[in-house]
Amino acid sequence: MEKRVVFRSGWLPWVLLAPQAIVIAVFFFWPAGQALVQSLQQSDAFGTSVNWVRLENFQNLWNDETYLASFKTTAVFSILVAVCGISLALLLAVFADRVVRGATVYKTLLIWPYAVAPAVAGVLWLFMFSPSIGIVAYGLEAIGVDWNHLLNGGQAMTLVVAAAVWKQISYNFLFFLAGLASIPKSLIEAAAIDGARPWRRFWTIQFPLLTPTTFFLLVINMVYAFFDTFAIIDASTQGGPGKETSILVYRVYYDGFKALDLGGSAAQSVVLMVIVVVLTVLQFKFVEKKVNY
């Protein structure tokens, strides 16, 4: 029998909802509305002359080859970040879960990178991979790899993906660790008694039971790769070489805050908003079907 609580007064539920509703309205709907309005305008930097241009900002985007190429870059980047980030974190979580002695130390160390600001993460990785002076680049050169992410697009992509994954791994790790801890020990023990080896136990018991966590992290990581990574890119590659690491959100930031093209930047953020909404809906519609709650 389902137990339902019914409010007798008409206004109380609204009052209780109000704090959250206000926060969403002020920090989400209002800026999003502003972006929508600005995407239909072209103005000088100071906003002293504003022209309504209907959909011209969007037309400019469709006619810009580099903008279209940026979609591909973003897709590659976010898939790499999500897949690498989630699988590495899962691996680490499974191992950390088994550790008996010093588990807290391992866990603390693995959670650490989450406290690092994205820009700092970008700079950190940039230093390590800096051609001819970075410690990793130096090591790579010693084993015959010519590392120069300033000119090699693939290497630049590797660098930003590594930095972005490293930054996000702690978050994923925490959720997986919590997920693993909530799996009843009796299930695993029963399987062990039946003769299942660790690998099989993982794939037939732990992983299926972790699917809700994995799905949640997939959504979160995609959103992270789409929105929260521009500081890493700005600090390490600035979208270069060429436009090889210029993902959509970096362009929004660059065109808006550096180049002061507010109309074009707003149009880009509207496009980005639509993409993320569509992606999230798709994920919930199709991927969620495979999730066992």
Binding site: D44, A45, G47, L150, N152, G242, A259, L260
Partner: protein, 441 residues
């Protein structure tokens, strides 16, 4: 209340009353100045304000550091929209066209000086500097503050080790290639590099060879300027650099001023970059270094002409009280005096922006004392042509980024010089058309 807190309280009260007393009955007019000068240059800005404030009692200049050039500009724009902009804003040269187009937001410096009744002669300024900040109708729009230009630095020790004459820097591009080959043969891993590749290898390069970078006098004459960097000479130069890159004579070290570190560390032996890099080299280089004029192609008629300016100028924002603008005018008048200008030039390595200040510096024997410091000045203090006066384009920040992106494709071997330059023209023109449209009033 115990004894301790009451003692503390009474001392607070005393301090507060002292503060209250020290405020003069006749309040000073405060003038906000937002700038982007860091470290030694930040101290310089503070000293300028301090000296001016000490020189009179009516006005008080309050300098505030607001982050990098683009950060302070974005910040000022946001502040302007919110109605609390500063009086004076330091804007870098690539932001000039944006500021000029924002007619309602700025007041031309010529106007500010005239309204305040302060004598102001634009002709006193070095032509390449004044021309840059002057509107097509001849009115000076912003106050030239810290100007720099592109020059050539080389490592004398590396030259000696390679068997080159350390007192004879290469003056032409073929000589640069020759010197680079010798440096490489002597085991140097990075014979030549360049910072600010768009500024040094395309923009300054154009003026130096007296060829157009963009139409409409490089944008100075109007918003309908279009890119011209796909000329045969530009192609030849970029191809030359691409070949050098293939042979390991030119090593690409990144965008903006990032490559400068590789010169100071001794890794790269020759570099093209800003004259404002001098302070850093003088302080940090652990080897003998030399400064020289930019290399050129000797068979190009009219080369070398002059180089274009970088750096920043001071803009006056609108919407303030008349008394405050009088203070701004008084401050600018103070800054224009040859003594202040010359002292600033010697201290920072930025160019003296008036001819009088240059002469005063020369008379003081500074250039003889520190050889090479006059390179930037002599490159700039020349009669300019319509093709070399300066480059002022709308959406310039993005155009610079396009230059970076396309040139990187050339150095990486993904595009030929011709393809990359054609792409710069095409993409640049789209931005210029858009800027023209957005700012048509």
């Amino acid at each position: 209340m115990n004894k301790k807190t009451s003692a503390l309280l009474s001392s607070f009260v005393a301090a507060a009353s002292v503060l209250a007393l020290s405020t003069p009955a006749h309040a000073q007019v405060e003038i906000q100045w937002w700038h982007s000068m860091t470290a030694v240059n930040g101290e310089w800005v503070n000293d300028l304000a301090k000296d001016f404030n000490a020189s009179q009692k009516e006005y008080k200049i309050v300098p505030t550091f607001k982050g990098t050039y683009d950060e302070s500009m974005t910040g000022a724009i946001a502040a302007f929209r919110a109605g609390n902009a500063p009086h004076i804003l330091q804007v870098f040269e690539v932001g000039t066209a944006t500021m000029m187009a924002s007619k309602g937001a700025i007041i031309p410096v010529g106007q500010v000086m005239k309204d305040a009744g302060v004598k102001f002669d634009p002709a006193a300024y070095v032509p390449a500097v004044a021309g840059y900040y002057t509107a097509p109708n001849g009115q000076m729009l912003s106050f030239p503050f810290n100007s720099s230009t592109t020059i050539f630095y080389y490592n004398k020790d590396a030259f000696k080790a390679a068997g080159l004459d350390a007192d004879k820097p290469p003056t032409t591009w073929p000589e640069v290639v020759g010197a680079a080959a010798k440096l490489k043969a002597s085991g140097h891993k990075c014979p030549f590099t360049t910072a600010w590749q768009g500024w040094t290898q395309l923009e300054s390069f154009s003026a130096w060879h007296n060829v157009e970078f963009a139409t409409q006098r490089n944008g100075l004459a109007g918003l309908n300027a279009r890119m011209k960097v796909d000329s045969p000479l530009h192609q030849r130069h970029i191809e030359n650099l691409a070949n050098m890159s293939k042979q390991g004579l030119f090593v690409y070290k990144g965008r903006g001023n990032v490559p400068e570190a590789s010169f100071v560390s001794g890794e790269c032996a020759m570099i093209n970059t800003s004259s404002g890099f001098y302070g850093n080299v003088a302080k940090n280089a652990k080897f003998a270094y030399g400064l020289a004029a930019l290399p050129y192609y000797p068979d190009v008629p009219g080369a070398p002409q002059n180089t274009v300016i970088g750096g920043a100028s001071l803009w006056v924002l609108s919407g303030k009280k008349p008394a405050e603008y009088k203070g701004v005018a008084a401050f600018f008048n103070y800054l224009s005096s040859p003594e202040v200008q010359s002292a600033s030039h010697k201290r920072t390595g930025y160019l003296p922006v008036t001819t009088a200040a240059y002469q005063l510096t020369e008379k003081s024997g500074f250039y003889k004392e520190k050889p090479g410091t006059d390179v930037a000045v002599t490159q700039m203090i020349r009669k300019t042509t319509d093709k070399s006066r300066g480059i002022r384009l709308g959406n310039y920040v993005q155009i610079r980024a396009i230059e970076d992106e396309e040139l990187e494709q050339v150095w990486g071997g993904k595009k030929t010089a011709k393809e990359a330059l054609a792409s710069i023209v095409k993409r640049g023109n789209e931005l210029l058309e858009r800027f023209e449209k957005a700012n048509k009033s």
